[in-house]
């Protein structure tokens, strides 16, 4: 009945993979509820940017402490996953440390290396937990970080710690086997004496237990990701690849508006011409809800790690205003999730009487932005909260005429006197005479 283990393993693996694929696919579907935008130009630059910012973590290290420990976890996580490949093969085929047979000495070297990485990951997780629980760094305790956002951040650290402990303990137990084939290894060798004196049969059961804990932990982690900010481990790379490459000061020019303005300014256009009855209904200007945003903005929302670097650089937030660019991203994702659930239930989206504007993001937040780009600059994975704020302002101004009164005055001045203040255009050169 030896094979029973392998069958159980294979079934669990298949189920876990299926579940993950299903939930990841929902995220994909939700992202593509967004509008089309072409971000596949300048491919060379995009690959270079991804290599630098995502792979090379260049923006993470702007904050050296967090940056360093993040790199420990990131490198550890990626490389230790090579070992997971072995675990999967062992699990399916009932082998034991399948790579050791043909790698020989290199195998020991590799595992030693992984163990060092595991210690690095443990260290980093402990530091990050301390930063969240003991040190009380301000950006981890803003209003939007209450509840799930805060527990999510800690859950991930706990799971990662558990996984690394299981890995080291498994190796440590195995060092005590009579029939030892590999090891002892660098780190686990140090804790091996803990299990000294145990029966061989108990040792074997213990080793299996840690082995199962490790792989079940990984599969559980995998299935936790779609519900967590930790999904950024998949999305941060494409997120950087599709980032805006233009100067940050350049806001998109709305093409739909260009057409209308051209018509208005065309002296030959017939102002009384009947509108084309076959023309599609005019698109909404700006964004009231998530479907009005483009898919890169929606991907941004699922990529956000809630690190709060944007918010801690935001002048509005620093001076006590309600606006927080991180909250803009979290709200966008939460609303998108909500829309996704409606689709799950009803097959397609049917108006649920709610929207990103007002139900999630208030007007007060939107009008507090100085468009300074500090948030965009600060984000380690190229997220652009400002572009969402602007789309929503566009909706407020062009669809609802709901700008603050003083701004309406400013715009009326621009329209009537070609300046934001009440001065006559004829006086534009007065500074010269005053010299």
């Amino acid at each position: 009945m030896e094979w029973i283990d392998n069958v159980i393993f294979t079934v669990i693996l298949a189920l876990a993979s299926f579940l993950f694929a299903k939930n990841a696919n929902k995220i994909r579907r939700n992202i593509f509820l967004g509008k089309e935008i072409n971000r596949s130009d300048r491919k060379g630059e995009r690959w270079a940017l991804m290599a630098k910012v995502a792979l090379g973590q260049s923006k993470m290290v702007v904050r050296p402490v967090a940056g360093f420990f993040h790199i420990l976890i990131y490198v550890g996580f990626v490389l230790i996953n090579i070992e997971v490949l072995e675990i999967l093969i062992d699990g399916i085929f009932g082998t034991h440390r399948v790579f050791s047979s043909f790698l020989g000495g290199i195998y020991t070297l590799a595992i030693n290396f992984f163990e060092i990485l595991a210690v690095g990951v443990i260290l980093a997780c402990l530091v990050f937990l301390a930063r969240r629980v003991l040190v009380k760094i301000k950006r981890f305790h803003s209003p939007e970080m209450k509840g799930w956002a805060s527990s999510d951040a800690k859950n991930i650290l706990y799971i990662e710690l558990a996984l690394m402990y299981a890995l080291l303990l498994m190796n440590a137990v195995e060092s005590n086997f009579d029939s030892e084939t590999v090891g002892p290894f660098l780190i686990s060798g140090l804790i091996a004496p803990l299990f000294n004196g145990l029966e061989q049969s108990s040792l074997h059961i213990l080793e299996r237990t840690f082995w199962w804990l490790h792989i079940l932990g990984i599969l559980a982690f995998l299935n936790y990701l779609p519900f967590s900010k930790h999904f950024h481990i998949f999305l941060s790379f494409p997120n950087v690849w599709y980032a805006n490459l233009d100067q940050k000061g350049r806001f998109s020019n709305m093409e739909s508006v260009t057409e209308e303005v051209k018509k208005m300014m065309d002296p030959n256009a017939d102002p009384y011409a009947a509108p084309d009855p076959n023309a599609p209904p005019p698109e909404r200007f700006g964004a009231k809800d998530v479907m009005d945003l483009n898919w890169v903005q929606l991907m941004n929302a699922y990529s956000c790690t809630e690190c709060g670097r944007c918010t801690s650089e935001c002048p509005a937030n620093q001076t006590g205003k309600k606006l927080s660019p991180r909250k803009i991203m979290m709200d966008t994702r939460d609303r998108l999730d909500e829309v996704g659930k409606v689709i799950d239930k009803k097959g397609s989206f049917i108006d649920d009487g709610r929207s990103l504007l007002d139900d999630f993001i208030s007007r007060e937040e939107l009008w507090a932005c100085t468009t300074c780009n500090a948030c965009v600059q600060a984000c380690p994975i190229g997220i652009d909260p400002l572009s969402i704020i602007i789309e929503m302002r566009r909706y407020l101004v062009m669809e609802e005429s709901a700008a603050p009164q003083e701004l309406n005055l400013m715009m009326a001045n621009v329209e009537n006197n070609a300046a934001p203040w009440q001065f006559a255009q004829a006086d534009r050169l007065n500074w010269l005479e005053e010299a």
């Binding site: 020019n253 468009t371 300074c372 500090a374 101004v397 329209e415 300046a419 050169l429």
Partner: protein
């Protein structure tokens, strides 16, 4: 040499001539009393360097920047197309402006609407004048003075220009000290995104006061700026901190211009 002179584009055109560069004065530079001084300083520097420049005068109108940042894309594009018609009508190639908002809009948002020009911030243009030896500056009264520079968001982060204004300041042989958050991490003065024209939202402090406090931490005698709105905001911040007597706020071009005063 008549230093306070400026000819309009129309005057050049009627003489059948073309200027080397168009000076886009901007609304603040045309109407705001403090910014008008900066306009005149810059004009004096241009004349000193013998630059053949023109202004649009009454043919200039708002670039549309505040409307665009407020979300009014219609009004922005109307302004943009009107301005582009004027600029293209004069076959303008090169534009310089002392306002980072005008600079950003003309440089980044006009091309797609048909307005393609080489656009420079006045600190960039002045730097080339110095580099080419057309303008010569000596530190004079600013020698050894403590100066800190406040990066305008729309010159810095928005367009990645941090060095031009600093290069000019270093000509003054002054003692430049940077604020804790400067360049990429520079804090906004609080005026951008059309905030200049409205009261701030509820909070516990005004952004300009926060930024002024950061500037004051460097214990400056002068806070240098490169934007008419920053100028207003930081000047107000200095007033709020009651430091008018000991700390002055100047545009970088004013500092250069002042070195020529006897």
């Amino acid at each position: 040499m008549e230093l306070n002179n400026a000819k309009t584009m129309a005057e050049y055109a009627s003489a059948g001539e073309k200027p080397e560069v168009l000076f886009w004065v901007g609304c603040a530079g045309s109407f705001d009393d403090r910014a008008k001084k900066v306009t005149r300083s810059f004009v004096r520097l241009l004349n000193r360097a013998g630059v053949q420049f023109a202004v649009l005068g009454t043919e200039e109108s708002c670039t549309g920047d505040p409307a665009k940042r407020a979300g009014n894309e219609f009004l922005f594009q109307m302004q943009a197309m009107m301005n582009i018609e004027v600029l293209n009508g004069y076959d303008v190639q090169k534009v310089v402006t002392a306002c980072p908002h005008c600079f950003n809009t003309l440089k980044n948002e006009y091309p797609q609407l048909g307005g393609k020009y080489t656009v420079l911030h006045h600190t960039q243009f002045l730097r080339t004048l110095l580099n080419d030896g057309r303008l010569k500056v000596e530190g004079g009264e600013y020698k050894g003075k403590r100066i800190t520079f406040h990066d305008p968001c729309y010159l810095g982060r928005a367009n990645d220009e941090y060095e031009a204004p600093r290069a000019l300041l270093s000509e003054l042989e002054s003692n430049i000290s940077e604020m804790k958050s400067c360049k990429e991490k520079g804090l906004c003065c609080g005026a951008g995104g059309a905030q200049m024209f409205k009261e701030p939202e509820k909070g516990n402090k005004d952004v300009n006061v926060e930024r002024t406090e950061q500037a004051l931490e460097t214990n400056p005698e002068i806070i240098a700026v490169g934007c008419p709105f920053c100028n207003t905001m930081i000047t107000d911040g200095i007033k709020a901190k009651e430091k008018e007597a000991s700390v002055k706020v100047y545009d970088v071009s004013e500092l250069l211009d002042n070195t020529f005063k006897q």
